[in-house]
Symmetry: C2
Subunit: 359 residues, 2 copies
Amino acid sequence: MTDRYCIIMCGGVGSRFWPSSRQAKPKQFIDFMGTGRSLLQMTFDRVLEVAPADNIIIVTNSDYAGIIHRQLPEVKPENILLEPARRNTAPCLAWAVHHIAAINPEASILVTPADHLIMREREFHKALRRGFDFVEANDALLTLGIEPSRPETGYGYIQVGKPVNEHICKVKTFTEKPDLELAKVFLASGDFKWNSGVFMWTAQSFLKALAENSPELARRFEAGEGKFGTELEADFIAREFPACPAISIDYALMEKASNVFVEAVDPGWSDLGTWSALRDNSPKNSLGNVTQGCQVVSYDTSGTVFSVDNPRKVVVVDGLKDYVVADTGDVLLICPLAHEQQIKQYVNDVKSKFNDSYL
Amino acid sequence: MTDRYCIIMCGGVGSRFWPSSRQAKPKQFIDFMGTGRSLLQMTFDRVLEVAPADNIIIVTNSDYAGIIHRQLPEVKPENILLEPARRNTAPCLAWAVHHIAAINPEASILVTPADHLIMREREFHKALRRGFDFVEANDALLTLGIEPSRPETGYGYIQVGKPVNEHICKVKTFTEKPDLELAKVFLASGDFKWNSGVFMWTAQSFLKALAENSPELARRFEAGEGKFGTELEADFIAREFPACPAISIDYALMEKASNVFVEAVDPGWSDLGTWSALRDNSPKNSLGNVTQGCQVVSYDTSGTVFSVDNPRKVVVVDGLKDYVVADTGDVLLICPLAHEQQIKQYVNDVKSKFNDSYL
């Protein structure tokens, strides 16, 4: 029996991929890469390499219990933690770590989002094994830092400090998303990594650090000691979880704690946060078009993503450059990729003009 | 009992409106204007003003018997002539006129396509009444000539000759579709009208002129004398019609006969031959967008036609100028209106890559 666990955070709504990603079926549940497995399923497959299935905990919104059961029937119901409200990542992880600690106080834990892409799994697995070894030997909070390949303005960055071994350094600072000029400086310096949102720690190190750095949040969950892992847990969470503030683990813990480390790695990672990122990480034809779930006949069209929920549908397109065409049967979106930041506004406009069924 | 009849030619395939117009449901059967009536139904309603329902004959391909019965249940089955093969307009009209002449040798006949648009019906009806009066008083083949409003290169033109009264002139020449330079000359001269494909004649004048100008075609149908209007007609047509050459009535008769006249009229006519023509003749929003059958939320989009077979569907579009977006459930077309002449090529490409079900 291993002490290694994994928490898959699976509660996101993925509104930037509307209409393909919907409230009822967000991004992590979609087979975006056309592999036959959703991003969640691929994440589950990936972490099975470092933690046994019984040690993998999925934290999600209660709306998604059914779809998770259908996509991952091998996961036991007691390993799916259903949040009664959306409260960002800090309450989510406080609960999940308490839950694991109640089952196994010696647990070391990998935390990963459900909806990221890893192209070089072998690199990733090696990094995870080194990371587990490190957090099991040290009172440390470890984050994976991705070697940046471009001056990306859509990610947070981590500035590395003093090395502790060949792969792991102390963290000097976490930074917010930079503007392009600053991102170029970060890239040129070699000292900055992308903040991947993948973390590793032992249950005990996490709970100690949370008590020191976010004592109010920590006390709220410490009040449940003795209930986690028992039939009393659900009632406790139903009462206490919605009362938590919605704050991120970066803000509640990582940016404040003194024992934060980063392991730099280059596993072909993308957070697939936008249609552009999806395009850049997908197989393309010679004109840079990406086709998902449909048949496309194109003329004078390049750099365009086609995401259509109907394998029989034929899309005939002429004269689009760097667009997204997403068709879900009840919604058709045609939008320049350069405007994809406005998709949230489109969704709001559709909601105000029509009804919630399109969200 | 009136001697005035109408032939509605309803056999076209409307491939320029693919994918909204399909082999199984061509343009004339579609409610393109969003009025709740298809172009065929609007044509039927329009000619009821000058001919009683029992005198309206619909000639179509046998594939469309069912859809015509559903769209026009008030038309008796014996008034629907089902062509066993597609042979262009000359054999179609030779048959239909023989059929009417067998029922009423004194018949005068209006011939109209099923898929044109008339915006000013009162003008049109006045012209038809004048036309009936003229062909009933003279041994004449009359065509309606539309006052041109622009140097259109998509239509044939009629050069008017000597006037016979205030509205009607002898025809000097029929011309093929001109290039833009020539179309400008035609427009400036004032002597040229658009060839509408709307004709009027008596049954006797037509049959006499056909015998003189296309004797081979005329003899083929004269062999059926005594059978038209009887139970022997169907067998005769099944055998003889497919053996006819596929030629137009312009070529077989109008360009050759010496007794051809034109009545100039300006009834807000369009042949709705292209998506652009449809856009130009449809109600538009302030940015020139036309929405048919769906709900559109648009940003930075103008001059674009949306034709979607799903009233619940929401189309969100950003950054299209002068496009057509046509969605039929199994086909999505996105194409600049400037390339609409290539739609036939797209259809061929889809046929060769996939199968006939998309045609």
